[in-house]
Amino acid sequence: MYGYAGRVLHVDLTTGKTRIEPLNEDYAKKYIGGIGLGMRLWLDHSKAGVDPFSPENPLVLTTGPTSGTVWPTGGNGHAFVSKSPQSYGIAEAKSHGSFGTELKRAGYDAVIFHGKAERPVYVWIDDDSIQILDAAHLWGKSPAETEDIIKEELGDYYIRVAAIGPAGEKLVRIACIINEKSRAAGRCGLGAVMGSKNLKAIAIRGTKDVTVAKPDEFLEFVKEFHERMKGPATKKYRTLGTPENVLVHNALHCMPTRNYNNAHFEAAEKVSGEYLNDRYVAKIIGCSSCAMRCEHVCVVNEGPYKGAMARVEYEPLWAMGPYCGVDRLDAIIKGSELCNYYGIDSISAGVIVGFAMDCFENGILTIKDTDGIEASFGNHEALVKLIEKIGKREGIGDILAEGVKFAAEKIGKGAEKLAQHIKGVEVTGYDLRCLKTAALGFAVSFRGADHNRHGSYAFDVKGKFNRLKYEKGRAKAVKDIEDVYTVIDSMIICKFSRGTYYKEFEDLAKLYTLVTGWETTPEEMRLKGERINNLARVINVREGLGRKDDTLPWKVMNVPIPDEGPSKGAYVTQEELELMLDDYYEARGWTRDGVPTPEKLKALGMDDLIPIVEAKIQKA
């Protein structure tokens, strides 16, 4: 089998037993790899309604068909899939670097972690030899420290490690899984799931060869993509990086600021990509096999945060910057460094701090509640202190570590109205009040508030649609782009490379064919994307999510944008939301409750999942 290692590894942390089974070829063809394969394996090995922190909730790690090949941006990814402790629906998070390549060379397409270890452990996958080793000495350490110690004790510099930090150990609901010190499978709180299993880290060494079905044509294609990746489609990532968005979004007044109190940040210049590149970017580096390189590593050279070093992207920058009213990049870099240290999702961390600041300014949280921290918007010291407290689950941080949804429920006093989340997952840097296509994409995203599940903000930001008004028929565009995105995340190529696939499904199908040797048409590729989206929906339906959860944060639907300018007065009404959802479910061929129909599943070759939806449709 080309493109696949052909094996799935099961690690039972409760019994310490491991077993290897062959990869189901039908699954590979239907669900590709990455999040598609991961979600299918999770579904097969879990029971409906399982608690995210229960030993019965498996944690699935997968690679993609191009992992371990030299495919630019595709050779390097991996995905984690499980049930989210934030949304209680399906969780998936990807990361890049070199960890995924190593797993593929060790000979696995997927690893499924079952059960829960009695004591802290780490799993050491050395080709065919699997060991569960004591991690007592690693408990409390950051992912970077953990990686260094493991490399030292196993005696091999080239071992790749993915680990959780202190936050994952303490079941902080926004905890992530970090590989190679700075790359995070960030969203949905999978680090907490890993922590709930007492699994501190996964260390991998792979020595096996990876080949592809049609190497000559494949390498030709690689060469072509190296050229494409030097072209206009990726210029942004190679120059200013995603922080370029700061000034773009600010000009459109679509950058959520001070916990959605504004859509425009008056001090945007000071936290812009231009300013960052000028003063803080020390080097731009890349992942294994990537010709593009995007990782803007920033260093603070002076002031109170001297010595802080972290990779900076738009979303975390926005979350810890404008969203908290903070106009200091040195504090944002420090905040990012702390997120890497504790192992928490830096987007969610910033949004939670912004939420806490809003509560503070509204008197819902007092200075006594915040352990003496003056948590006003713009206070950079408060930002840094609160992130630390979340990472440690200390004082107010213990409540905030639950994420804005659960924290607001605990705090009460109307805090719910200030909690900007979808399905329990904190919002990202697009003001949904004035980006109506994005609003739909966010509302229906299967992993909660997330720009990366669809990218439908592009229609609004680039002016393809009237961003201030939703019109029926637009859901088709959202559906189509979602299907592309699920293919991207199942192949596990990098989202930043999407523009280099000029003919999208055609290029993706060609790549898949060259790698696997399975002739695949563009239409079949599109169907795979649609299938994987339906699979995710079926899982969410099984877990009890539905139309009621496809909704928008309170402020998006109740507080019009106050700022004078191009977005003034915009918000999403209940009628608009209902229109969006009807339009979308219709485009997807789902019921009015948002449940995939048996006919749809049959058409997609997922007959075996029909009983799950039938039960829900009958109930309704």
Partner: protein, 169 residues
């Protein structure tokens, strides 16, 4: 016979190298028909996010690896200075690996003999890592040219401000 200062080897510009490993993949593919960095004759080192370089054989004068081999399995090519490995004589003892200060000679994971960069002698267009490096961080150069480059860089740094004004119209 080529004089020592005319020998060309693959050098890396640390400022340009992003640690992407394309050189490793391409080397292993060309030599072994497999995507497997362990079979690459050039290896990336990433110390922290800021420090990445690819390292391969420097074609030393009086190469310590050759001197260290107790079985005379290694010799240096008089033609271009590459290290030649006699696979029949090599028993993978590792003295040469210990002798090399750069980690440029290594043990093959399957064949259990050592292997080292041969500048892709079978390829008319030269070392494939250089050809494929997407950042143009690798170069096939003589030590003399390297020194020239270093001199130019040092001078540029010294006169950065002056250069800026002189190029402004």
């Amino acid at each position: 016979m080529v004089k020592i200062h005319e020998r060309k080897f693959v050098s890396v510009d640390p400022d340009k190298c992003v640690g992407c490993q394309v050189c490793e993949y391409i080397c292993a593919w060309n030599k072994e028909k497999a995507f497997n960095p362990l079979k690459s004759r050039i290896r990336v080192v990433r110390l922290n996010p800021l420090v990445n370089v690819s390292i391969t054989c420097r074609l030393c004068e009086d190469p310590p690896c050759v001197a260290a081999c107790p079985r005379d399995a290694l010799t240096q090519s008089e033609e271009n200075g590459t290290i030649l490995v006699d696979e029949d004589k090599c028993n993978g003892c590792g003295w040469c690996i210990e002798a090399c200060d750069y980690g440029a000679i290594m043990l093959h994971p399957e064949k259990k003999v050592v292997f080292v960069c041969d500048l892709c002698k079978d390829k008319p267009d030269g070392p494939q890592c250089v050809k494929w490096c997407p950042e143009e961080a690798l170069d096939l150069v003589t030590a003399d040219v390297l020194a020239q480059k270093a001199r130019i860089t040092a001078t540029k740094k010294l006169f950065q401000e002056a250069l800026k004004t002189s190029t402004t119209p």
